[in-house]
């Protein structure tokens, strides 16, 4: 189990609880999994419902629950990536594939009205905290039956029941979580707010401001930096001075640094920081490295290049070559430097995308379980997620051009 708060007080007919009903009684997979049984599934929780049990102490690590959460996150993201490729998800889609270890490790400590503020890469956090996954999928697919009636899309998902809010503006999750923490401190002492953000976001002023504010006001907030090394197509270290962990620490945040592909490590470190925060000892910063094999978003141009180098080279190559050879322009030196930049970027991406694929938290997490248990979890989660996606696909239908009925080239 992710924590000691005991079995949830309610059951719902959501897909998740279907999964759980099947699982009930399984000794490896206890039912009382608050990560997957969030407040939102149980109706708006009352203050009295919030058990203070376990608050203030790091909570125990349950490999099966963690694995199960990660599997579900992965499957939902994969299902949405496929739906995106099939033309069922409008706009961009930023999957959290590769970051499940970080999210699951942290979420293992959240219960009741603990809150989250998220960025554009947010699906796994909602899934892990128990947002109805069909509603989530429908939202991402632009349906009026979605979690937010089609108004949010995947970058601005909102689930007041958890509570959790996503904001597509890079860096905003920090101060939003600080605000949640202010409310916790007054209204529900012991609760924490968690902000997830990327390493690229650490150069956004408001996020740094929010570190300072959290420390100055000694707020119960945990900032989680998921360092996947890239912000869209920019390698973070190319545009970042100093060391971001030292940076966080210089604000007076208590910092921990872990490998994000080891969910148990994340869980342990997050537990220490969250326990401090809950007991009024101040905010924390958890730094976890990870890899995003799918790129920034589905259709990421660098991933396209790595996957189909010839096709992409055909597309980009001619005009780059033409430009590099243009009569007017920079000096030879400038152009060589440019070629180096482009080649270097691709080379580094290629290196990251081969060497770092080993950093799969779900694969690693699987090794924490015995084979049979892992398989059982996988098959149940597959069932669950497939069902949700097939319901969602059924609900939206094929929807050419996403249901836009008019408009056209003149």
């Amino acid at each position: 189990m992710f924590d000691e708060s005991g079995a949830p007080a309610c059951r719902t007919d959501s897909l998740i609880s279907v999964g759980d009903r099947v699982l009930a009684g399984d000794p490896v997979l206890p039912t009382g999994d608050p990560v997957l049984f969030s407040a939102s599934l149980c109706g708006a929780p009352t203050r009295s419902r919030i058990s203070e049990a376990g608050m203030g102490l790091p909570t125990g690590f349950d490999p099966a629950a963690a694995f199960r959460a990660m599997v579900r996150m992965r499957l939902v993201d994969e299902a949405l990536a496929r739906a995106w490729a099939d033309g069922l998800v409008p706009g961009e889609y930023h999957s959290g594939i590769g970051e499940e270890g970080i999210v699951a490790g942290v979420l293992g400590h959240l219960t009741g009205r603990d809150s989250m503020a998220l960025d554009h890469r947010n699906t796994s956090a909602f899934v892990g905290r128990g947002t109805d996954i069909t509603a989530l999928m429908l939202e991402v697919m632009g349906s009026e039956d979605g979690l937010n009636s089609g108004w949010a899309g995947h970058m601005h998902l909102m689930d007041p029941g958890i509570p959790a809010a996503a904001d597509g503006i890079v860096g905003a999750s920090g101060p939003l979580a600080v605000g949640q923490a202010i409310a916790h401190a007054r209204l529900r002492p012991g609760r924490v707010a968690v902000a997830f953000h990327g390493e690229g976001a650490m150069n956004q002023g408001m996020l740094m401001e929010s570190y300072n504010l959290a420390v100055a006001w000694n707020l119960p907030v945990l900032f989680v930096c998921k360092d996947n090394r890239w912000s869209i197509t920019t390698r973070a270290t190319d545009v970042t001075g100093g060391d971001v962990v030292k940076r966080a620490s210089s604000f007076g945040l208590t910092v921990e640094k872990v490998r994000g592909d080891r969910v148990e490590e994340v869980h342990r470190a997050a537990g220490r920081l969250i326990a401090r925060a809950r007991t009024g000892q101040g905010p924390g910063f958890l730094y976890a490295g990870c890899h995003r094999p799918g790129g920034h978003f589905e259709g990421d141009p660098i991933v396209r290049l790595l996957r189909s180098p010839l096709r992409q080279a055909e597309e980009w190559g001619p005009s780059i070559v033409r430009s590099a050879g243009a009569k007017t322009g920079g000096s030879r030196h400038d152009r060589i430097a440019a070629a180096k930049v482009l080649a270097g970027r691709v080379a580094r991406a290629a290196r990251d995308y081969t060497a770092r694929t080993r950093m799969d938290p779900v694969k690693r997490g699987r090794r924490l379980l015995d084979q049979a248990a892992a398989e059982r979890i996988e098959s149940l989660e597959h069932h669950l997620v497939d069902q949700a996606m097939s319901d969602a696909r059924g609900a939206v239908g094929p929807r050419p051009t996403f249901g836009v009925v008019r408009g056209g080239p003149r």
Binding site: G146, M158, P175, L176, A177, A183, R186, M206, S210, L213
Partner: protein, 337 residues
């Protein structure tokens, strides 16, 4: 009924809501000293100084509002809100809609605005037109202590976002805080509209609904439409015009958003001549929106605007000339003849 100053009236209303509702609290730069009376009454947890981090503490207000509090976030001067603009443009105005209507943001953003007291082009803007461009953002700027109190009460009790702009020329707090109080050598008497800075406040306080204009003066020849200090400048101009036989009505909008379109149209229909007086920039402020309302309603009217045409200069006489002063208003009215 009691006489209050403008800033005092706002803090009075805020104090009353804070006394009734523990979830109301306020933060911002220097609020502990500026609102020392509220601090003394409610303590440092509910009246709290912030670092100079407008983005973070505005977004924090949004987060806190969504997590159960009713924060009144003070951004000293509205010009500084520009460093936190995304909080308005991308968050406060959007989150209720993003949530599909299921999540409210009961937030008040309080800020000083406006000029006439000479603080240079980065400290005297109003920006109210732009703020009201965003969905779900109510924007008010009261012109009297009574309105200030009533609107603050409404703002704090509202489940929506309200940007509460207090005009710096009317606010004894701002005039004093910016050093005015310590020199007898400067007087703002010629500039400060006396019954804007101080006046009767009916007690017990009643919330003043958003979007209700007040007709400050009747007159059938021309309708002057404004708010904040502008409403007072209109009254000044109306007196001057009366002596040349022109009777002007003066409509004080009180709220930029929602805007009392009916009242505007009614005055315009009656007079057939409209002058919109706006301390915001000529583009994107009040003047265009009112013109659009009139045209949409098919009102046939002559129309002129008196607004801020560019950067507001520092030098007081230049500032005075650049702001919608009574002379400019009267000239605009005469230009309509």
């Amino acid at each position: 009924m009691t006489v209050m100053k403008y800033g005092q009236a706002i803090d009075y209303a805020l104090g009353e809501t804070m006394a009734r509702d523990d979830d109301v609290l306020t933060w911002g730069e220097d609020v502990m000293l500026i609102h020392r009376d509220l601090l003394a009454r409610f303590g440092p947890e509910r009246v709290r100084d912030t670092p100079i981090s407008e983005s973070a503490f505005l977004y924090a207000g949004i987060g806190a509002a969504m997590a159960g509090l009713r924060p009144v976030v003070e951004i000293m001067l509205v010009d500084f809100l520009a460093v936190a603009w995304s909080g308005i443009a991308n968050a406060a105005s959007k989150f209720r809609d993003f949530s599909g209507g299921s999540w409210e943001v009961p937030l008040v953003v309080r800020a000083g605005c406006g000029g006439w007291y000479t603080d240079g082009g980065q400290h005297v803007q109003t920006l109210w037109g732009q703020l009201s461009a965003y969905p779900n953002i109510n924007v008010v700027c009261p012109s009297t202590p009574a309105d200030a109190a009533g609107l603050m009460l409404t703002a704090v009790q509202s489940d929506e976002v309200v940007v509460f702009l207090e005009h710096q020329l009317l606010s004894e707090q701002w005039i004093d805080y910016l050093g005015g109080g310590s020199r007898a050598t400067v007087s703002f008497d010629r500039l400060v509209p006396a019954d804007g800075a101080e006046g009767d406040v009916p007690l017990p306080l009643e919330p003043l609904p958003l979007g209700q204009a007040a007709l400050r003066r009747e007159g059938s020849d021309v309708a002057l439409i404004s708010l904040g200090v502008g409403a007072h400048r209109c009254l000044e101009a109306a007196e001057a015009l009366a002596s040349s036989g022109i009777e002007a009505s003066v409509l004080d909008l009180r709220c930029v958003s929602p805007l009392d379109g009916n009242a505007v149209i009614e005055q315009a229909r009656k007079a057939g001549r409209v002058v919109v007086v706006d301390e915001d920039y000529v583009r994107g402020g009040l003047t265009g929106e009112i013109a659009a309302l009139l045209l949409e309603a098919g009102v046939t009217t002559k129309y002129a605007r008196v607004a801020v045409e560019g950067t507001i200069p520092f030098a007081p006489h230049l500032e005075y000339a650049a702001l919608p002063n009574a002379d400019r208003i009267a000239a605009a009215v005469k230009g309509l003849e």
